[in-house]
Amino acid sequence: MTDVLDRADATPRLKVVGTRPIRPDGADKVTGRAQFGADLTMPGQLVGKILRSPHAHARIVSIDAKKARALPGVKAVVTGADFPNLADEFHEGGEAASNLRDLAMNVMARDKALYDGHAVAAVAAISTAVADEALALIKVVYEVLPHVIEVEAAMASDAPVLHPTMFTEGLDERPALPSNIAKRNRIARGDLDAGFAAADVVIEGRYVTQAVHQGYIEPHACVASWAADGQCNVWSSSQGQFMVRTYCAKVLGLEISNIRVTPAEIGGGFGGKTTVYLEPLALALSRESGHPVKMVMSRDDVFRATGPTSGSVMYVKLGAKKDGTLTAADVELKYQAGAFAGSPVGAGSMTALACYDIANFVITGWDVVSNCPKVAAYRAPGAPIAAFAVESAMDDLARKLDIDPIALREQNGVKNGVKASYGPTFANIGYLETLAAIKTCPQYSMPLGPNQGRGVAAGFWFNVGGESTAAVHINEDGSAVVVTGNPDIGGSRASMAMMAAEVLGVPVEQVRPMVADTASIGFSMLTGGSRTTFATGMAVVQAAEKVVAELRRRAAVIWDVAVDQVVWADGVAVCRDPAKATGKTLTLEGLAGQSGRTGGPISAQVSLNAQGAGPGFGVHVCDVEIDPETGHVTVLRYTAAQDVGKAIHPSYVEGQIQGGVAQGVGWALNEEYIFDREGRMENAGFLDYRVPVASDLPMIDAILVEVANPRHPFGAKGVGEVPIVPPLAAVANAVRSAIGVRMTELPLSPPKIRAALDAKAG
């Protein structure tokens, strides 16, 4: 492992890291040349389409596809019967573990359809029109079952049970009957009763959030080809080509060695593309038809059958002394998992109190299945939901004690050496620095007008490391190629090239970053968990360091000196041997040009399992104005401060923060899954599921706080997930400040605000 402490100390001497070069994939993306999931066409390809359940919960009695198969132009039809049934097996991909059995049943329903939109059959045909006609000819007989959507309703003892084999895990005793409660988890410290007994004030609340979608603009898309010799090629938009390979192999019962997955450009993911929906179906259709098959989701498919993250009901009780010291916290989180177990309530529980040093607390989490799409990871999965509840309660506590909300958080905030609520002891964290950045930012002291309010909230995310591979190749002209296995979802090619250029001592334009297919680079976990710049970046840096060591060795061969007499500085080998000509130099180009005579091509590959990702903290301040007539909330100003460790490319770090804020504001004000009485999603389109548009938002000021992570060569911490954690509560606290009423149910849509104002007026 690199001596990282020395490197972090050397930060001021950086020449590339911390600058703002133009991204290396930029020109293709502003000219329409970048190829996304739906942009590849293969010779002879068919169109694949999916028949989806119109029922939220139904037994599939029979599927008759005879007429569809007989339709001219139809080349393949597959149903659940065409896929193997898998046993429970958990796979860790980089964001959240998946149960492969559930994954396979989510890709294609077997005996039951568990939500409106659940795939029940798929066809491949020569055109979209023929495929659509074929879907209409498939006769599915359903026995419609009672359904349940809301989390507390799904937990009730009389609720319709989705999985008769589901017995709640994590209870003291195994329950006698199956239920929709997959698991209970509990984190506790100290003595809760004593903590509340010691409190001078107690704050209590019940908080509700709705399921929201990641809302990436690119629908899922892929092309798959199953050749006559069993070799499979998949070209798809995802957050991890290795994840796609693993899941396709498992769902179809294939050898991994027979599958090659090439990543397309990805048009947004936010966690939602950390799993597969289409790829195994396209492969199955290709196997049956003998043609490549392309599948592209409609927006309706995306909303009904992918994503979202959990809706929730939460209870928070906080106790504190008059001086503001927190004495106790009791937090209960109930999260929707969708049709299969695995909501992010575990991460929600671990992050709920992670910003605070509290002696006595209990956090209880409930993972609950119901008849809505299986949740997928969404940016800091679980954390924004829990933060909405806890940070709303903290705001109420600050008001009750008449303490500035930043001061209250500073007083109770975690610092280095404090044992985190979720276990480890914090080191090299920058929470207090981030609070200070907001306290001193211009917005925090700006005067407010009538109907205006200001809210503050904090947020935490772990960030992760994990398995990554990177290769650095030196071309014969001295330029370099950096190859990784992580799809570039928001500018990571730029940061990979910059870190390699920094180590090699060359301008970033001399380094071309590539994202390789699964046969062209070693394994990497997917792009998720805010891990790529940290973990894959570490592999890039180490590979570049190996290349530098090799370049020094080559120069030593040429000069006939000991390798320790050669130093590498600014992309040039310098001879330090006084017996030879000290100061003699060899450029990278010169060394590359004669590599054939010094030992062959110069390249290095590093595979590692990166540990020591630095946890991230964000503190946000939001100013809103309420229109008392309509109840509409306008976000006037927004400042987000975040400890990023070290910003490799500050513009893209700011962009991550601004984008996370925008998603969080949408979650707070507009976005929600709405189901009708039959459990069908009513707003499965961007007209009725309203994500923020440009006119909804102000400029978003991002303050980069840099408390270096000594475990990364340049001090980087994960960045992409923290910024979506605080906004839900920051907006809600601003609304509380503006209207004098605590709103506890998201989204804070105009009718709810109007109702609150009416209730207040009596």
Partner: protein
């Protein structure tokens, strides 16, 4: 149903293609003319990823029938740069890091071009409302708006000098 023959001008070049009566302009651009820079994010005119300029007007190409393109002049993202010279908007988007995943970018660039064609000196608010039909889920719009305002200023300056 028989196909129709359509002649149009796309990015300055005369093109011909056959279309089913129900085919959208977006599908014709992508599937018949291999211009895949225009993207489909929703198919219902809500996201703007398919924005093109038809006879000087900004339209969602997913809402226009391909048959309606007869004798029209259509500008797509593929025609925005002049040869290897990027349009000032494209250059400013790169300089301001106004894209992350890049999927909405072609549509937002076309919408921005239509804005500056119509109004070379927009206020920030005008730019935000003009672009309100183009969803971006990555950036929070901050850097997009800055890039558009900066490009507008540079293009005004170029016109004066």
């Amino acid at each position: 149903m028989s196909k129709r023959h359509v002649s149009a001008i796309v990015n300055g070049d005369a093109v011909e293609f056959l279309t089913d009566p129900g085919m959208t302009l977006l599908d014709a651009l992508r599937d018949e003319l291999d211009l895949t820079g225009s993207k489909e994010g929703c198919g219902s005119g809500d996201c703007g990823a398919c924005s093109v300029i038809v006879d000087g007007r900004l339209v969602c190409s997913c809402l226009m029938l391909a048959a309606e393109a007869q004798d029209r002049r259509i500008e797509t993202i593929e025609g925005m740069a002049q040869g290897s010279d990027l349009h000032p908007l494209q250059q400013k988007f790169l300089e301001h890091a106004a894209l992350q995943c890049g999927f909405c970018t072609p549509g937002i660039l076309m919408a921005s071009k239509a804005l500056l064609d119509a109004n070379p000196d927009p206020t920030e608010t005008e730019a935000r409302y003009w672009l309100a039909g183009n969803l971006c889920r990555c950036t929070g719009y901050d850097k997009i708006i800055r890039a558009v305002m900066d490009a507008a200023a540079e293009m005004r300056q170029a016109r004066v000098s």
